[in-house]
Structure formats: structure tokens, C-alpha cells
Symmetry: C2
Subunit: 329 residues, 2 copies
């Protein structure tokens, strides 16, 4: 009987919260140090009932950028790779694309010309490849593509190229009463395809860019149809606007990695009381990528300067993360 006493006491301590430090580490892929300490310190502070910085669960809103913050965005945004593949698949139905940019470049895999076509060119590709179907049909197309396509460098599906430390962080925040949202410059319906199985974030907690839709009865079937027309761009100043529209509350904590997240972090951390801003700095060329001020994709320049001024926590991917991607199954 004597040997049982210690385990029972330990269980009781864990159950009562008395042995907090004995509980399993909720962030095992984060190396010990000031970054991990800042995260845990913030969460403990705002969840401590009766404490001076206590925030009720209804106000524990945490917003996460997706590209470069939760999953890989190099060498190109995954959604752009999808759009190009989709244009290639649709090309036989559109012989006119053979001699029309940016479609010609997409079909030929000419990324240089594609990049030169700029935002307007990319938008044209997205409109041509993302519209003309219902959201449900679009989900099927995206799901099939994500299931069948691998990143050439890592030879893994894009949904496996998510950051293990960030998956742990999402779960840790939710376990502490936070509601976690994605606030992405990418397409809201694209991200919704995998947000729940991959991140544990349901469709209605995804905010993103969108094209317009139209409601009509087609052959007796009530239908929401995706139109080739931009509705909302959820990037830069669009992020606080998208958050206001969808969530209706200023976040308590915001997580990004590029200048596209600057305004979200700025607005979040300017709120009253304790707030938390974090930037994932890509510093690990060996295990992932290293880029910041000069990168075309995911440029981190203005927001990196602002981080120091505003006390945003900057994650040094190389040194703060013990593991980048989830272990292979």
C-alpha cells in the first residue's frame, strides 16, 4: 500500500492544479528560453483568476495569420501553386490562354513572367481558377488537390508542412480558454478546406480574402455561386477590418510573420490592458527557409522594426523551435 501513496498524491496535486510545473510541457517543440517564457508568462497572467491582468474567456481572442505563420509560404504561396495547377487543368477548355498572359506563363510554369504580372496577374489567375462553382464544389477541388500534391523540396503534402510549435501553441491557447482564429490574406474558402482537421479551427473561425458570391436558383436547385469578382482583401489594413467584421472584438493576442500582419499586430497590441503580439521570423534555411526584409513573398521589414518598438515577441525559428514540422506518421 505504501508505494501507492506517492502516485495518488501526485494525481491529486495535478488535479488540484497545485503541481502545475509537474504537468507535461504543453509546448514541447519550443526550446526553453525567453520566447517560450513570454508565451507562457502571458497566458498564465491573463488566466489567473483574481489577478490584476485577468481576462475573462469571452475576451481571450487569438488571431493567427496562416501563410508563413502556421504553414510554409515558400517558394510561393500554396494557394498560388494551386491556382497555377488549376489553370493547367482547365487549359484544354481555354485554348485562348495559350497566347494570353498571365495564363501562358502559368501553363508553361514560367514563374518569372508570372511574378512580373504582379498582383493584377495573380488576381486574374485566381478569378479564372476559383470561380464558377459553388463553395461545396470548390471544397472538393481544393481537397482533392491538397490530397494529391506534394511540395517538391520536402516531399510532403502542404497540409503536413505546418509548424509543429504553432500547432502546440494553438492547442495550448484553446486549453486555456482562448478562441483561436485564422486571419489570412489567402482565400477564406481555401483555408477552410483544412483548417479544422489540421489546426482544429472550424470554418466559422476563419477570416480571409474572398470573391463575391451570388444566390440563385439554377435548374430548380438553390445555389450559391462563386463569381470572378473580388469581394474583400484580408491583408494589411484589411486584417483589422476583417476581424471587426467577422469576430467583432479586438484580439487579445495576434500572431503573424510579415508586413501583411503589421496592422493586425499594431491594432491588437494598442488595446487596453495586457496584449500579446508575436512574429515568426524565418531564420532557418536548413530546416525551412531564411528570409525577411528583401523577400518578395512574406516580406518582413516594417513589422520587424515595429516589433522592437512595441514589445512584440520575435520567434527566432532556428533557435526557438526544436522541431519544425510534425513527425512523419
Amino acid at each position: 500500500m505504501k508505494r501507492l501513496l506517492i502516485p495518488i498524491a501526485a494525481v491529486a496535486m495535478v488535479l488540484s492544479g497545485a503541481a502545475h510545473s509537474e504537468a507535461p510541457d504543453p509546448l514541447p517543440s519550443w526550446n526553453d528560453g525567453p520566447t517560450k517564457g513570454a508565451i507562457v508568462g502571458f497566458v498564465e497572467k491573463v488566466t489567473k483568476e483574481g489577478g490584476p491582468d485577468y481576462v475573462p474567456p469571452t475576451d481571450r481572442i487569438a488571431t493567427f495569420d496562416n501563410d508563413g505563420t502556421l504553414w510554409v509560404e515558400k517558394p510561393a504561396y500554396t494557394q498560388l501553386i494551386f491556382a497555377i495547377d488549376r489553370v493547367k487543368a482547365l487549359a484544354p477548355e481555354h485554348p485562348e490562354w495559350k497566347n494570353k498572359q498571365p495564363f501562358k506563363a502559368a501553363i508553361e510554369g514560367d514563374m518569372k513572367t508570372l511574378a512580373a504580372s504582379g498582383k493584377k496577374g495573380i488576381a486574374e489567375l485566381v478569378m479564372a481558377s476559383h470561380a464558377g462553382m459553388t463553395p461545396a464544389q470548390f471544397q472538393t477541388i481544393v481537397g482533392d488537390w491538397l490530397a494529391a500534391t506534394k511540395d517538391p523540396r520536402f516531399q510532403r503534402k502542404y497540409t503536413e508542412l505546418v509548424y509543429q510549435p504553432m500547432l502546440e501553441l494553438l492547442a495550448y491557447l484553446r486549453d486555456n480558454g482562448f478562441t483561436t482564429y485564422i486571419v489570412s490574406g489567402g482565400g477564406i474558402e481555401f483555408v477552410r478546406n483544412f483548417s479544422e482537421p489540421v489546426y482544429g479551427i472550424p470554418p466559422d473561425q476563419v477570416v480571409g480574402s474572398s470573391i463575391k458570391t451570388k444566390y440563385e436558383v439554377v435548374d430548380g436547385e438553390p445555389t450559391v455561386m462563386r463569381l470572378p469578382e473580388m469581394n474583400f482583401i484580408d491583408d494589411k489594413t484589411g486584417k483589422p477590418i476583417g476581424i471587426t467584421q467577422h469576430i467583432g472584438q479586438r484580439p487579445l493576442a495576434a500572431f503573424g510573420n510579415s508586413d501583411g500582419d503589421f496592422e493586425m499586430l499594431q491594432w491588437t497590441t494598442a488595446g487596453e490592458g495586457p496584449r500579446f503580439g508575436m512574429i515568426v521570423h524565418h531564420t532557418d534555411a536548413e530546416r525551412e527557409y531564411a528570409y525577411d526584409r528583401d523577400s518578395e513573398v512574406g516580406r518582413l521589414d516594417k513589422a520587424l522594426d515595429a516589433a522592437a518598438e512595441n514589445g512584440w515577441v520575435v520567434v527566432d525559428m532556428k533557435n526557438d523551435w526544436g522541431q519544425i514540422f510534425p513527425s512523419k506518421e
Copy 2:
């Protein structure tokens, strides 16, 4: 000891779910009959694990119109009464309104001229009274007004003129794993002011009409500013579009009361598998109001015909509801 046995057994039965029919009625304000039976029958069907119509909790999406479905919309929409009061309060700063319609009519309480100004006139009132402040400032203005204003006929605050049977229905659905959303033609930020305390629906589960907002740094303060420009009208065909945008899923069940809800109900109940559509028919002039096909506010004409064709449940307020409003505290 013997007397304790029965209560313990009863508790055990309730806990195990074995004594389901012995549990307290979750819809006590609904009179027994086919309407209540249809609601309970649907919920039991889609929540019965292993049953042929089982729907997992992630797909148990229930959308509710607000005006006339969850609270009173007569003699005028509450938000319009708010806009008029707000225009009156702002009138001293706008001497030009004295001779300018629809402001003149609003200031003078001339509802006939106001109605004649149509949607354009109403929109002008809303722009003038709802913009030029942050969402947080707008919340304060709305909250103060709702706390201070009473409906002349019932002598109760508008947030008390909600339908007790619908409050019970919202709670009953949530207790059965549904997520409940408001999908209102009214302003999203207006409804968000009271949705959580009154309906138990948090801000991010409110879909509604909206004006545009702008993000800017004002005097060093990062600010979301409400603009006098329409962004989205969440009515009629706008409801399926708003649901697609915010929720990202077709509802399993939809609840409305007017032709403004027709497309939401049509789209919802056209989905595969079991679906549920319900219309609140205002038939009780004594306890509330009686109106349908000829009413300017909350007209129920097309949707009433469609209810019969589509098997939507029509609530006969007078006969189906034992109580209309929550009891006074």
C-alpha cells in the same frame, strides 16, 4: 436509508440519459402539439447516434433571423427607432437637418413622411447616425440607448421584448450540440450589442448588414472607424451569401418570420439529408401583433406560400406559444 434509493436511481437514470422522457421539458413555453413535436422530433432524429439521420455536431448549424423571429419588430424595427432617436440627439450639431428630409421627419417624429422616404431615406438616417465612430464607441451608444429606452406599448426595454419560446429553443438546440447563429437584416454591430447577454450568442456568431470601416492611426491611436457607406445587406438573397461568408457551411436548420428569410430557408432546406425550416407567424394581436401578407414591416407572403410547398413548420404564435415574453423580474 430506504428513502434515499429512489432519488439516487432517478439521478443515475438522468445522468445516463436512460430517463430521457422524465427530464424537465426543455421547451416549457411551447404548447404541446404538432409544432413542438416537429421541433423535438427533428432534434432527436439528427442527434441519435447510429440513427439513419444522424448529423455530427460540427454540421449542426442553426441560423435565426432576429427582427420578428427572436424579438418584436412592430410598430417599427428597433434599430430604426434607435436611428431616429440618434438623429434627434445629434440634431443640435446639424442645423441643416431642420429643412432636409428625411432628417426633418425623423426630428419631428413624422413616421408617415419617413416611411415615404423609402429604403433610401432610411439608409440616409442610418449613415448619419451609425458612422463616424469606432465599433467600441458605437457599442457604448447602443448599449446606453437600449438600457434607457422602453417600448411605449409594453413599457419594457426592447431587450426584454424577446420571445421566451425562442430563448428556450436556442438553449435546447445548443444543449443538443447545435451552434446557433443570428442572421439578421439588421446591423451586425447593433445586434452584437445584446446577442450574448440576451440570446447566449457571442459576437462572432452574429451575421448582419454592415457599413464599411477604415483602419487608420488617429493621433497615434490605431483605430477602426465606421464609415457612412454601405458594405453588405444581409437580407433576402444576402442571407445565404452572408452565411457562406461568415459561417462557411449550409445550415441544418433555419428560423425566420418574413419574406426576407425566404432565400435562407429555401437554401437551407434544399440541402441533402434532414433539414429543418421554421417560420414564426405573428397571429396574436392581443399578446403581441398579428400581421403577414400586407404588412410593411416583416411582410410574410411569398415565404408563407413556400412553407406549405417545402414542409417548413409554421408557428402559430397564438396557439403554439403559452408565453410570449420572459416573465418580469
